[in-house]
Structures are given as C-alpha cells and as structure tokens.
C-alpha cells in the first residue's frame, strides 16, 4: 500500500511539475493545485499507526483499530487553506482575463514593455 501511494505521489508531483512549467497561467495554477493534493497524500502516507504511542484519550486496548488522527487534522487544515488560496487564484485569473484578455505569461510580459 505504501509503495503504491508513494508511486501515486510521485506521479502527481510529476504531472504538476509538468503543468507548472507551461507558459499559460491557467495550467500553471492547476499544476499548483495538483501539487497541494500530492502533498496531502504524501503526509497521509508518511503518518504511522499509533501503535506504541499512546494517544492521550485511550487506554491502549483498542489501539490497533485506530490511526493517528493528527496527520489527518494536518491534511484537513491544509485542504481548507488550499481551498481559500485556490478560490483567490481563480478570482485573480478571472480578473486578469477580464482586464488583459490573455493568460499567456509571455503576452503579459510583452505588454509590460510599453
């Protein structure tokens, strides 16, 4: 399972890196969003089961049924933050499109010269 997840994380990172290297802002933004999901998956994969570490609320008898809740809390927070950032970036994209009528980085750069 861990190996599969690791491969999946690698694949997602590769895809997002490919997208981020593009010249078009929409794709770049999508690449960054994808990277966030990859990171969340990586955290999930690297969290271990709490056997041996006694969580603060359990007596240790039913430990094998539980997973460590903290990485999931981390991921949840990261998702919420990512949600806000994505909404902001999308709005910015819409506004840029409205004002400049292009989302090509190179064209944005050209307009800067005059």
């Amino acid at each position: 399972m861990t190996v599969l997840t690791a491969i999946l994380v690698g694949l997602i990172f590769a895809c997002s890196a490919y997208m981020m290297l593009g010249r078009e802002l929409k794709g770049v933004c999508m690449g960054v969003f994808l990277l966030g999901h990859g990171a969340n998956l990586a955290i999930l994969a690297s969290s271990r089961s709490p056997v041996g570490l006694i969580p603060p609320v359990l007596d240790g008898s039913a430990l094998s049924r539980y997973v460590d809740p903290l990485p999931q809390a981390l991921i949840l927070t990261a998702i919420v933050i990512g949600f806000a950032v994505q909404a902001f970036l999308l709005t910015l994209l819409v506004l840029t499109w409205r004002r400049q009528e292009t989302l090509e980085l190179s064209e944005l750069a050209e307009e800067q010269s005059h």
Partner: protein, 549 residues
C-alpha cells in the same frame, strides 16, 4: 500578569480586522478604530516585554498558555519568551507607523475596499507566528500572513504588478506546499511538532538520522520566505512594483518573520543536535556571505529608490543568517554563541524599523517629486529639508555608522566572527557594509543633494502621477512625516540605548542557545529530568567505552 492573556496578540488584530470589515463603507471610522487597536496591541506588547524582562529566573521569563487547557505536547501551546516579546514590541510599533502612513498617504486606489482589514489580518498572522509553540500553527500563521499579502499585492493593480503578483503568489504557494509536506514527514519521523518537544529530542540526541533531510528541507522553505541565497530571486522583482506604504509593511514584517523562524527553528529547536548543526552550519555560513554580498552589489547597480531598497532587504538578511550560523557552531563557547544570536536578534529588530522607515521616506520623496527614478529627481534637500534629515539618519543607520543602531548589530556580529575565526564571512560583512554606505549615498546624492535635473518629469508623466495619486502639486505629508519620525525615533533609541536593547537580545539568545528553561516552561519539570537522566547515561557510556580501551 496572567500568562493566558498572551493570546491577545492574535485576538486584537483579528478583532480589528473583523471590525474593519463590518465598517466597510466608513473609511474614516476604520482608520480611527484600526489605530486604537494597534495602539492597544503595542501597549500589550510592551507590557509582555516588561513582564518577561523583569521576571526573576529563566523559567518564569517564559509565559505559556495551553489552548483549551490541553496539556503540551498534545494540545496547541502558545509561548512568549524574550525573543517573541522583543519581536512583538518592535513589530507592533513599526505597524503603528506604517498604519499612520498608509491611512494618510496611500491613494484610495490602494487603500480602498478591504485594505485595513487585510492590514490587520497580515499582522495577526505575523504575531501568531511570533507566539506559536508548534510548527503546524506556524504553518497556519504563515498562510494567513501570506494570504493577506497576496491580496495586498494585487489591490489597485497595474499591469506590471499583476505579472509580478503571479510570480510571488505561485512561488509562495510552492513554498507552502513544501512546508506542509516537510511537516508531515517530520511528524512521521518524530511523532511531534511541538517546538519544546522537538528541542527536547534534539538535546537528548534522539533525533533519528532520517529526519535530517527533512530538517534541511525546512531550511529551504524558510530560506525561501526569508529570501536568502539562492532562493531570493522572487523578491527584487516583486517588491519594487508596490506602493511605498505596502512595501514598507512587507519589508518590516514578511522577511523578518522568516528570519525569526530561522532563529527559532534552527538555533532553538535543532541547534542542540550535533548532527543537524554539522550539516547546516556550513550551508548557512556560505549562504550568508553570498546573500549579503550579492544583495548589496545588486542594490548598488539599481537606479530607482524602491529597487535599491528592495534588493537591500536581501543583503541585510545575510547578516541575520550569519548570526544564526555562528549561534549553531559546534564547539564554540556558549557565550560566543549567545552573543552571535543576540547580534542577529538585534539586527532583525533594527532592520524592521530602519528598512520600513527608508521605504516610507522613498514614498514621500515620490510624493514630492512624482517619481522615484534617481535620474529624474533631485534638489529635494531644499524642497524637503526635514525629510532629507530623517532619510539621512535612517540611511546611515542602515549603513552602520556609529552611534546609530545598525552599527551595534554589525559590531557584535563581526566581533563574534573574529572570535570564531570566520575570516571569509567577516570580510564579506565589512565589504557589504561599505557598499551599503555607497548605495545609500547614491540615493542621497542623486535625490537630495544634486540640483533638480534638466530633464525633469515630462508634463504628461507629471499629470499621470498626479491623477494616479502618486504625486501632489502641494504635497500633504504631515501623516507620513509622523510615521517616519516615529520609526527614526525607534532606530535612534536602539542606537543611543544600545546597551539596553543588547541586554534584552542577550537574554533572548540565552533562552535559545540553552532551551532547557523553555522546555521546562512548556512541558513541565519531569521532562527536564528525563533529559538529565539521558545525559548522565550518555556520559556513563562514554566512560565505559573509555574504560574498555
């Protein structure tokens, strides 16, 4: 003082932000209420500093509060130790000055809408980062701060600003993703993200070997935020497009939070671990030297006020990193480490006030002359003699002329470099200082000293600057001057009362280089006994092996 009240450093700016949103259509009310909140915040910070400094012993110098009464390391801990207290004090005073500047000088194109709410939320993120006791909350605080900064970056955008904003936002998002990944891995390795708990592990030498790459990854993340070599490329392009008030705020807070986190994480948490220091100190020292020198070379080559100052931020970060590196050096005397870290802390707070002040001065120059391109302005010495005087004080303080504040920071750092026999970085530090003086004199001589150039602003340019609110026929700069005077006052107090500030910085450095009191304050006495027991065991082990030999 009730230590639970330290959460006020988060509540106050947040409440100010909420009130600003509710008062959305009443600009004047937002300004008044915001200023009141900021003053209350500064008063709280001064009070916390006084409590921390006058406390009788090392453990009681550290105020802790466990959120929701959940004990550390399971719950969220917030901590104000001397380092946090001094950072909070100086940053809150700087924020008051910037707020006054922004509410009087900034054109409505920038200061409309949610500007004031964002200002407070940015501050909330920064202060949260200063008082948090675990790395994950640090991440959340960073995100709040960055989110506010993204929006401030794009309000009232020009085309150039939009393009740079994308670069800034995307790079920071990348940094944040790396940060959260590193945190997940670190948690997987250590089972905790509480700063005191990690520091305890580092002291006991129980950090697993495999956690060192993750810690190095954290250096990459924070290095990117702080803009150290080779991760500084985003900063010079991004900052110079912003109006002076906003860039003053960013210069005072954003990179300095990065520097604070570098001190906190690498000196306090992982500093006690030999393995980590072995890997990181050479990296930090090389990066420090290159950062400061390349930064200042860049600054000298630039020709507009904001560009010079922006690139300068990078160069100044080099000094801070140099102090941090020397504070982690294995084998150096504890006193020398403490002094190096104290120098770095002093330098951070000095830089907060002075750098911000210079940006605000640059903004006022632009208000007078319509541009901040050094080729097109001049003669401001006659036009604005007071501004010229204040600029000169701040600039010389940045360059490090005694008895101004920059001198003492550099003096302590360079002295410790000599003690630790780090000749190369010391040479770079002194050279950088000279070039800093040169770049400041460049602004002085072109902007203030020389007569106004023949090729002055063209009429069309002038009209555009006026219509954009960047220039005024008869500039009203009283509010801006108040802000600048306040900041110059802070800088002068650091120069003339350097001993007092250095004492506090040393106090802060002591609790960082030896984090035992911090661990005791957060985790309780038993954990300290564990550390002592493990140390005893280790010394016994070495004795045994020696006996075998």
């Amino acid at each position: 003082m009730n230590p639970h009240l330290i959460i006020l450093f988060v509540i106050l700016p947040m409440a100010a932000g909420i009130v600003s949103v509710l008062l959305h259509s009443f600009k004047q009310a937002q300004r008044v209420v915001g200023l009141l909140f900021l003053l209350a915040n500064a008063a709280c910070a001064a009070w916390a500093l006084a409590t921390v400094v006058t406390a009788p012993d090392a453990v009681s110098r550290i105020l802790t509060s466990q959120m929701g009464n959940w004990p550390a390391p399971f719950g969220i801990t917030i901590v104000v130790d001397p380092l946090s207290a001094i950072m909070l004090t100086v940053s809150s005073v700087t924020c008051v000055a910037v707020f006054i500047y922004c509410s009087t000088q900034l054109p409505t194109r920038f200061a409309g809408g949610y500007f004031y709410a964002l200002f407070h939320l940015l501050m909330m993120g920064v202060q949260w980062a200063f008082i948090t006791g675990d790395l994950f909350n640090l991440f959340v605080a960073f995100e709040i701060m960055l989110m506010a900064s993204y929006v401030l970056f794009v309000v009232g955008t020009t085309r150039e600003q939009v393009r740079q904003a994308y670069k800034y936002i995307l790079l920071n998002l990348l940094g944040s993703t790396l940060f959260v990944t590193a945190l997940g891995w670190l948690y997987g390795q250590l089972g905790t993200l509480n700063m005191a708990d990690m520091s305890r592990m580092a002291m006991m030498g129980t950090l697993p070997k495999s956690s060192i790459p993750v810690i190095a990854l954290l250096l990459v993340v924070f290095g990117g935020k702080t803009a150290i070599f080779p991760l500084w490329f985003w900063l010079p392009d991004a900052y110079h497009t912003l109006p002076a008030g906003i860039v003053g705020l960013f210069a005072a807070l954003l990179t300095k939070v990065g520097a604070y986190v570098l001190i906190r994480v690498f000196v306090m948490i992982f500093g006690p671990s030999q393995e980590v220091s072995q890997v990181l100190v050479p990296v930090l020292m090389i990066s420090a030297g290159v950062t400061m020198f390349l930064g200042v070379l860049g600054a000298v080559s630039m020709h507009t006020v904001r560009r010079i100052l922006s690139i300068h931020i990078i160069s100044q970060v080099g000094y801070m990193v140099m102090g941090i590196g020397m504070g982690m050096t294995i084998g150096a005397a504890t006193g020398s480490k403490e002094l190096a870290v104290a120098g770095a802390i002093f330098f951070v707070i000095h830089n907060m006030a002075v750098k911000c002040c210079l940006f605000l001065c640059g903004g006022l120059m632009q208000t007078h002359a319509g541009s901040d391109d050094l080729d097109r302005i001049g003669g401001l010495l006659k036009k604005a003699p007071w501004l010229a005087t204040l600029f000169m004080i701040a600039a010389m303080s940045l360059a490090g002329l005694p008895p101004l504040s920059g001198f003492f920071g550099k003096f302590v750092l360079i002295r410790e470099a000599i003690t630790q026999e780090r000749w190369v970085v010391m040479t770079f530090a002194i050279l950088t200082s000279l070039f800093t003086l040169l770049s400041m004199l460049k602004i002085w001589s072109y902007g203030f000293w020389s007569p106004a150039p023949e090729v002055s602003l063209e009429k069309a340019d002038m009209r555009r600057a006026i219509s954009e609110g960047l220039m005024h026929e008869r500039p009203r700069i009283a509010g801006g001057m108040v802000a600048v005077v306040l900041l110059v006052g802070v800088s002068l107090s650091m120069g003339l009362g350097a001993q007092k500030y250095l004492d506090i910085s040393t106090l802060a450095a002591q609790s960082l280089v030896n984090p035992e009191p911090y661990i005791e304050a957060v985790l309780g006495k038993e954990r300290i006994r564990e550390i002592e027991a493990s140390r005893l065991q280790a010394s016994r082990l070495t004795m045994d092996t020696e006996g075998v030999r």
